[in-house]
């Protein structure tokens, strides 16, 4: 199965490439050595011995000193279409994803109007086939217009091509509605991705509750706002023998609940976001909403450590950016008034490489594995470098330093949590579903042999 069997992308030409003498790393398949990677007819045609691949007519990229990984998959992106195209659209959002090394993304349904009908899905898929640089899939809302009260027509939404369901941006506050959705999943299939937050506990909060919020006088979102809902839904999923995916875990208690649920046999998967893995609420002391206001909020060091431990032991199977573009006027206001959310597609790999891999917190193989871990929870094929697999490949220079935002963004919005930071590790080229989806402008390619 390939991503394009299910996801939509603008049709293009299949690449014919030889990435020569690159260090190839795919920990899932067990590859970690120097090869010539041959991409042809939409597939990984061969992993040849270094310098040995036939180049007949292929574009040859000198890959010595560079790394090739399976391209990344992000199950949590806000493309803001329809309704907020001034922040992002399918074209700019997928371009940003391609620049970050992604070969596939899933778009959230909290648009205006929300994606709640089969016609919404059909229209988005058409737009993706017209303008998406990489394969993109669309989730539909669980409840009609995200009101939290009535289920959407989940069977027909699935028939129209909805990859799964989510009311992301809002929790499903009503436990009874949540339970019905899980029961109905046995009829419609498709994973249900959950934004876990008890609105009565996070009421009006702008940051994590703790010593920093006490010092700043900001209304705060306690960890239990998330963990109590994770616990509720893990219990419901277990009881209904249904499947859930917990989005953007942020609190240590939530990680522990997911771990225990998995041990008890509950079908539950989880994601963590790069900003939660790299930053803590100490950053909020700057009161900079552009980079540090998001929901769930940045939490404390013990939470960050718990997320890292969750990545290591597999409690958290994937990294998801929760890429949430906003325009300056929604961020150029005092912290409490600013919109929640930061962009992340273009910096996820580089930031995690800089903050977690280089200091030795996690190893490169684990990062590569988790960056592509978002496909399987949604029944999609994990990007792989195994010969014969669909060509989903990212070429990186792990030594390259770059300053985020210096050359602008592919995204239409600039609210990057990494803005202004110098990161080490850069995506040079992305091949998604056999097509070249991105190449860094300053990266010169070898001549065709």
């Amino acid at each position: 199965m390939s991503l394009t069997d299910v996801l939509d992308v603008r049709p293009g030409e299949d690449a014919h490439l030889v990435l020569r003498r690159a260090t190839v790393l795919d920990p899932v398949v067990g590859i970690d050595s120097v090869h010539d990677v041959v991409v042809r007819d939409g597939k990984i045609a061969a992993l040849a011995a270094p310098g040995e691949a036939e180049t007949d007519g292929a574009e040859v990229v000198e890959g010595e000193g560079l790394h090739v990984f399976p391209a990344f998959f992000d199950p949590h992106v806000h493309l803001r279409t329809p309704g907020h195209e001034h922040k992002e659209d399918i074209e700019t959002g997928t371009r940003a994803a391609a620049a970050g090394g992604y070969c596939g993304i899933l778009a959230m349904a909290n648009t205006e109007p929300p994606v709640s009908t089969p016609a919404d899905i059909t229209s988005l898929r058409e737009q993706a086939r017209a303008g998406a640089s990489i394969p993109v899939g669309f989730l539909a809302t669980v409840t009609r217009d995200m009101q939290g009260t009535e289920l959407t027509e989940m069977v027909e939404l699935r028939e129209a091509g909805a990859i799964g369901f989510s009311d992301d941006g809002l929790p499903i506050a009503d436990a009874g509605v949540m339970r019905r959705a899980l029961q109905y999943q046995h009829l419609c299939g498709g994973n249900i991705a959950l934004h876990e937050e008890d609105p009565r506990l996070s009421m009006g909060g702008a940051m994590h509750e703790g010593p920093v919020s006490a010092a700043l006088g900001l209304a705060a979102i306690p960890s239990v706002s998330e963990s109590t809902l994770v616990a509720r839904d893990a219990a419901l999923a277990g009881y209904e023998n249904a499947r859930i995916h917990v989005q953007h875990l942020s609190a240590a208690e939530s990680v522990e609940i997911v771990r225990a649920a998995k041990a008890a046999g509950v079908q539950i998967s989880a994601e963590a976001s790069p900003h939660h893995l790299c930053l803590t609420d100490e950053e909020v002391r700057s009161l900079d909403p552009h980079r540090f206001k998001m929901n769930p909020p940045l939490r404390e060091e013990r939470d960050r450590q718990a997320l890292i431990e969750g990545l290591r032991d597999g409690t958290i199977e994937c990294i998801a950016t929760d890429h949430a573009p906003h325009q300056p006027e929604e961020k150029d206001v005092p912290f409490e008034q600013a919109a929640f959310g930061v962009t992340g597609l273009e910096t996820a790999f580089a930031a995690l490489h800089t903050d977690l891999v280089l200091p030795g917190v996690i190893d490169l193989g684990l990062l590569v594995e988790r960056m592509a871990g978002g496909a399987e929870p949604f029944d999609l094929a994990r990007p792989s470098l195994e010969p014969g697999a669909e060509a989903n490949v990212v070429l990186c220079d792990l030594g390259a330093e770059w300053t985020v935002g210096e050359d602008g963004y592919e995204s239409r919005s600039a609210n990057s949590w990494c803005a202004g930071r110098t990161l080490t590790g850069r995506v040079l080229m992305t091949v998604a579903a056999g097509q070249v989806a991105f190449r860094l402008r300053s990266f010169s390619l070898g001549v065709a042999a």
Binding site: P211, A215, G217, L218, L287, P334, F335
Partner: protein, 318 residues
Amino acid sequence: MKHLLSIEQLSREEIEAILDRAESFAEVGRRDIKKVPTLRGRTVVSLFYEASTRTSSSFDLAAKRLSADLVSVKAAGSSVEKGESLKDTVATLSAYDPAAIVIRHPYAGAAQMVAGWTAAAVVNAGDGKHEHPSQALLDVYTLRRRLGSLQGVRIWIVGDVLHSRVARSNLVAFGKMGAEVTVCGPPTLIPRGIEELGCDVSHSLEGIEEAEVVYALRMQKERMSESFVPSLREYAAIFQIDTRRLSPRQLLMHPGPVNRGVELSGEAIDSPQSLIAEQVAAGLVVRMAILYELLAGGESAPAGEGEGSRPTPIGTPA
């Protein structure tokens, strides 16, 4: 010091410099002509997005006593009501090339953002529930006059700490001046983690007799409907400072406006231990000192208006 955004940013020495300056303005205040020419020809904008009596009036009067031209803008009745953003309002007012902008805003960090948008010196006159540095300075000033020093002085701050920018700024300021601070109130109104600011936490008035200073906070009526306290009556029964709970050797403070009969009994307000009127008087001289320090004090003082490059020393009546 370019701006006054928080107490957090100030060192003990900087706090003392402002208080010393305020002492000299207090001397001016005892003269018949209370005005000095220090800021003549310079413009101070006061921009208030929240209702305020004592803070706005004392900043306005402080600017006038220093001979500055004052532009006073209230959100009500201004272009703010027409939906103008803070950033655009600040850009508009900055076109008058003010020397200082004094801002009160309902959200934390507003003053800091304004400082990034204007060339003027910015004074935080209260940002959300974050900080109210001029209040803390005038409270330290009031106590220093009474006690000489705050070193080792035990101060209890009692009431709705969660929603109080005064509590936060004062807690930090008192600590910087060497005092030992306890915050006291119902658990629903004490923010989680506040002890990391360097204070003790108490949920009852038991032990308050150890305090030399009792600082009561305003208790707002809407806290009841939000379930922070079951009723103001029960709150008063447990936490009200009255003359029975206040010993004659303790000093009583309150930032105002007071809810008589809620956080303080009427008798306590009017008792000899009460410094409330002194706090208000201190507000004027401390705010004069703040404007002076930012606009005319220190090395970075801009060229004085008129004869020389140094600002006119205080003491010469205008």
